[in-house]
C-alpha cells in the first residue's frame, strides 16, 4: 500500500549522481586495467612496444604486400627467384591458397561429386545448430535425427554406391572434410563410450571393472602415432594376401577408441567429485543404480567436467593431423602435400599454407571453446563465483 501523505517521503527516487570523471569512461578503464600500478604500467608499455614492432610487419605481410591472385609460382616469387615480384619482396601467397582451396576442403574427392560433401555438411549444420541453442524445442527428436539417422545419410552421401550415387573410395577423401569426419565421429563415439568406461571403472563388479581398467590403461599407455602406424604398416601383413581393410576406417576406429579412453578418465574425475551423500540420498529414495546414475550423478558430474570434455575434444580435433602418418591427408596434411607441387614452390608458399591451416584449426577450436564457456555459465548454478 502506498503512503503518499507522508510529507518527508520522496515520491520518486533521486536521480543517480554521475560517478566521478576519473571512475568512468576510457580513462577509468585504462587506469584500472592497464596503468593500475608501476609494474602494470611497465608491462603495458613493454607490451605496446612489442605489438608496435610486430603488428605492422604482420599486416604488411598478410595483407598489404600479399599476392592475392595468380596461377603459378611466378606470382609469389621475386625476379631473382624466377617470378615477377621486386627483389626483397615478402608477402603472403594467398594465390596459392586460392588455387588449392577446393583441394584443401575436399582432398581429391571427384570434382563433380563435391556437392555431396557440401549437402552432408549442410544437413549436419541444420541438425546441429538447433541442438546447440537451448531455446529451440524438440531436443529429443533433434538428437535422434542427428545421432541416429544422420550417420546413415552421411555415409550414403559421402561413400556413395547407393541410390545411383557413384562410389567414392576413401583414399580420395582429404582436407578439411577428413578432419571434420574424423573428429565428429570421434567426438560422438567417445563421449558415450567414455561415460560407460568411466562408470565401468567405478563399478563394484570385478570383471567389468577389470575390463574397463585394462582397456583404458592400455590405450592411454600407447601413443596414438604408434597405434596408427601399427594399423597401417603391420596390420595388413596379418591379413590374408590381397585382403585390405579401408585405411580411413582404421584411422577412424583408432581415433575413436583413443578419445574414448581419455574421455573415460575425464568423466571419472567428475564422478569422483560427487559427494557420497548424493548416492546415499538417491538410495534412500529407492532409486535403482541406473536411475541414480542417470538422474542424480551424471548430470552433476558431466557439468563439472565440461572444460575437461571440451579440452579432450579440442585435443582430438588437432590430433586428427596424425593420420598423415598412414597416408591419409587431413587439412594440415593436404596443405603440406601441396608444398611439393613444383608449380607453386616459392619461399612464401609453405608459410602461407601453414598460416591458412592454422587459422582454420583456430576457428574450429575457438568456436568449441566459446560454446563450452557459454554452456558452463548456463549450467553453473551451484558453484557460481
Amino acid at each position: 500500500m502506498e503512503q503518499t501523505n507522508l510529507a518527508y517521503a520522496r515520491t520518486e527516487m533521486a536521480a543517480d549522481e554521475r560517478p566521478p570523471s576519473k571512475e568512468q569512461g576510457v580513462v577509468a578503464w585504462l587506469r584500472k586495467n592497464l596503468f593500475a600500478s608501476v609494474p602494470d604500467t611497465i608491462l603495458t608499455l613493454v607490451g605496446l612496444v612489442i605489438v608496435a614492432m610486430i603488428l605492422p610487419r604482420v599486416i604488411d605481410w598478410a595483407f598489404i604486400n600479399a599476392q592475392w591472385t595468380g596461377t603459378d609460382r611466378s606470382y609469389c616469387a621475386t625476379v631473382a627467384q624466377g617470378g615477377i615480384q621486386p627483389d626483397g619482396w615478402s608477402g603472403a601467397c594467398w594465390a596459392f591458397v586460392g588455387a588449392k582451396f577446393q583441394q584443401f576442403m575436399f582432398g581429391q574427392y571427384p570434382i563433380d561429386q563435391r556437392w555431396r560433401v557440401m549437402l552432408a555438411g549442410a544437413i549436419f549444420l541444420a541438425l546441429l545448430v538447433p541442438l546447440l541453442i537451448p531455446s529451440v524445442p524438440r531436443k529429443l527428436l533433434n538428437a535422434v535425427l542427428l545421432f541416429g539417422v544422420f550417420p546413415f545419410i552421411a555415409f550414403a552421401l559421402l561413400v556413395g554406391g547407393v541410390f545411383g550415387l557413384p562410389f567414392v573410395e576413401t583414399a580420395r577423401w582429404g582436407g578439411l572434410m577428413v578432419t571434420l569426419v574424423l573428429s565428429i565421429v570421434g567426438i560422438s563415439v567417445s563421449l558415450p563410450f567414455g561415460i560407460l568406461l568411466a562408470l565401468g571403472r567405478r563399478s563394484k563388479l570385478p570383471v567389468i571393472k577389470l575390463v574397463c581398467v585394462i582397456f583404458i590403461e592400455t590405450i592411454r599407455g600407447v601413443p596414438l602415432v604408434t597405434v596408427l602406424f601399427m594399423a597401417s604398416v603391420m596390420f595388413p601383413l596379418f591379413l590374408p594376401a590381397g585382403m585390405t581393410f579401408d585405411k580411413f576406417l582404421r584411422a577412424l576406429i583408432g581415433v575413436a577408441i583413443f578419445a574414448a579412453a581419455y574421455m573415460a578418465e575425464v568423466v571419472r574425475g567428475g564422478l569422483q567429485a560427487i559427494p557420497k551423500g548424493q548416492y546415499e540420498g538417491a538410495a534412500s529414495l529407492g532409486l535403482t543404480y541406473w536411475q541414480t546414475t542417470g538422474l542424480v550423478i551424471l548430470p552433476q558430474a558431466l557439468k563439472l567436467v565440461i572444460p575437461g570434455i571440451v579440452n579432450t575434444f579440442i585435443g582430438m580435433f588437432k590430433d586428427t593431423s596424425l593420420v598423415a602418418i598412414i597416408g591419409m591427408f587431413d587439412l594440415l596434411g593436404i596443405v603440406r602435400q601441396n608444398f611439393s607441387d613444383a608449380n607453386w614452390a616459392s619461399p612464401q608458399t609453405p608459410i602461407t599454407g601453414l598460416v591458412f591451416a592454422g587459422f582454420i584449426f583456430w576457428l574450429f577450436c575457438f568456436g568449441m571453446s566459446r560454446y563450452s564457456i557459454y554452456m558452463e555459465r548456463r549450467l553453473d548454478t551451484g558453484h557460481k563465483r
Binding site: Q81, Q103, F106, A171, G327, A342
Partner: protein
C-alpha cells in the same frame, strides 16, 4: 632415441615383410585386368615426381610411369589409382597386395631385392646425393672436401643421413649434422643460414632451390656421394606382371630413341624403318605384344597416353617444368647418358 625406436620398428617391419613376401598373389596382370585399374604406390609428395596439381590430380615423373603401365594394359592413362605411401609403409603396401606397383623414387639396392622380396624393373632415374651451399656465405668453396667443420642440414629417417656420415668419416672431415624431421623445416633452416650446406638427392636440391630467397647465390657442389638408382618395383614371384612393367619402361626409352612422340606416333606406324614397325606392333603377324599378355599395339597405347621417356622427363622435371633438371646421366646412351633400353623384337 626417437630414431632408435624408428630403427627397431623399421627392422621389425622389414622382417615381417620378408616373411609375408611368399604369400602374395601370383597373377597380378589378370587381377589388374579384372578390376580395371592399376593400383600404384607413389610418394606422398615430392616435387616433380609425384604431387597433386591445382585440381588435385596426381602429376609427376613417377605418376606418369604408373599411367604408362595403365596405358599399356587398358589404352587409357586414367585407369590408375594412386596410393600415396611414405618411406616406411611403401614396401609393406606392395607386399600385402595393397598396391600392384611401386613407383616411388625408390633406390634399387641388394637388400631390397633380396630381404624385402621386391623386383626392380629398371632404373628410370639415376639420382645421387649431393650438396648445396650458399656461395655468398662460403666464397671459394668448390668441393665438398672443403666443408670440414661445416654444419649440414639433413632430413632424418632416410639413407641420406647415413650417406652423409659415411662420406665425412671416409674423408676424415669434421661436420655438424643439423637434422630435421620435415622437409620444409630443413629448407627454412638452410635458407635462414642456420647450416652451411644442405644435403639430399640431387633431384631434391633442384626443387629446394625453388623455395630459397635468392636461388642464384646457391650452388650445387660437383661431388655425388652416393648412387641412388631410382627404380619402379613389383612383387617377386610374378614374372608375367614383372615383364609387363619392365617392358613398359623399356618401351618408353626405346620410343625416345626412335623419335616416336605423342604427336607423331600415328604417322610412325607407317614408317619404313622395320625396327619402328616392330616396336609399334605394325609388323604383319607379330606376336610381341600378345606374348606379354597385352595387345600388339601396346607401345602405341603407351606413347599416346603419356609420351616417350624424354617427353615425360621434360614435362615433369626437365626443361618444361619449373625444376629444370638437366638430363645428365638420364640422357639416352646415344647422347652420353645411361638410359639404354633392351630391344623390342
Amino acid at each position: 632415441m626417437k630414431n632408435h625406436v624408428k630403427a627397431i620398428l623399421g627392422a621389425a617391419v622389414l622382417g615381417l615383410a620378408a616373411s609375408a613376401a611368399s604369400v602374395s598373389s601370383a597373377d597380378t596382370l589378370s587381377d589388374v585386368k579384372a578390376k580395371g585399374f592399376v593400383q600404384c604406390g607413389v610418394n606422398t609428395g615430392l616435387a616433380g615426381f609425384s604431387a597433386p596439381d591445382d585440381k588435385g590430380e596426381w602429376k609427376g615423373f613417377d605418376v606418369d610411369f604408373c599411367r604408362a603401365v595403365a596405358s599399356a594394359i587398358f589404352g587409357d592413362p586414367s585407369k590408375v589409382k594412386f596410393t600415396p605411401t611414405n618411406a616406411k609403409e611403401r614396401f609393406t603396401a606392395l607386399q600385402s597386395g595393397e598396391i600392384d606397383l611401386l613407383a616411388r623414387n625408390t633406390t634399387w639396392t641388394l637388400g631390397r631385392d633380396t630381404a624385402l622380396g621386391l623386383t626392380f624393373v629398371g632404373v628410370n632415374y639415376y639420382d645421387g646425393q649431393g650438396f648445396m651451399i650458399n656461395a655468398k656465405k662460403l666464397p671459394g668453396v668448390t668441393s665438398a672436401l672443403q666443408l670440414s667443420g661445416a654444419s649440414v642440414c639433413v632430413q632424418s629417417g632416410t639413407t641420406t643421413e647415413l650417406n652423409l656420415a659415411d662420406y665425412f668419416k671416409a674423408n676424415n672431415l669434421e661436420y655438424n649434422p643439423v637434422v630435421f624431421e620435415k622437409l620444409e623445416e630443413a629448407n627454412a633452416a638452410y635458407d635462414s643460414g642456420r647450416c652451411d650446406a644442405y644435403t639430399t638427392d640431387q633431384s631434391g636440391l633442384y626443387s629446394i632451390r625453388l623455395t630459397l630467397a635468392s636461388p642464384d647465390d646457391h650452388i650445387v657442389l660437383p661431388e655425388i656421394i652416393s648412387k641412388e638408382p631410382l627404380a619402379p618395383a613389383v612383387r617377386q614371384g610374378d614374372d608375367k606382371w614383372f615383364n609387363v612393367v619392365k617392358w613398359t619402361y623399356n618401351a618408353l626409352v626405346l620410343a625416345e630413341e626412335y623419335g616416336i612422340t605423342q604427336a607423331n606416333v600415328d604417322e610412325m606406324k607407317s614408317s619404313k624403318n622395320p625396327d619402328i614397325q616392330r616396336v609399334l606392333g605394325a609388323e604383319a603377324g607379330t606376336t610381341l605384344g600378345t606374348g606379354l599378355g597385352l595387345d600388339n599395339d601396346w607401345v602405341v597405347k603407351i606413347i599416346k597416353g603419356v609420351g616417350n621417356y624424354g617427353e615425360i622427363f621434360d614435362r615433369n622435371i626437365g626443361a618444361g617444368s619449373p625444376l629444370k633438371i638437366a638430363r645428365g646421366l638420364n640422357a639416352l646412351w646415344t647422347k652420353g647418358g645411361l638410359q639404354y633400353a633392351m630391344p623390342i623384337r
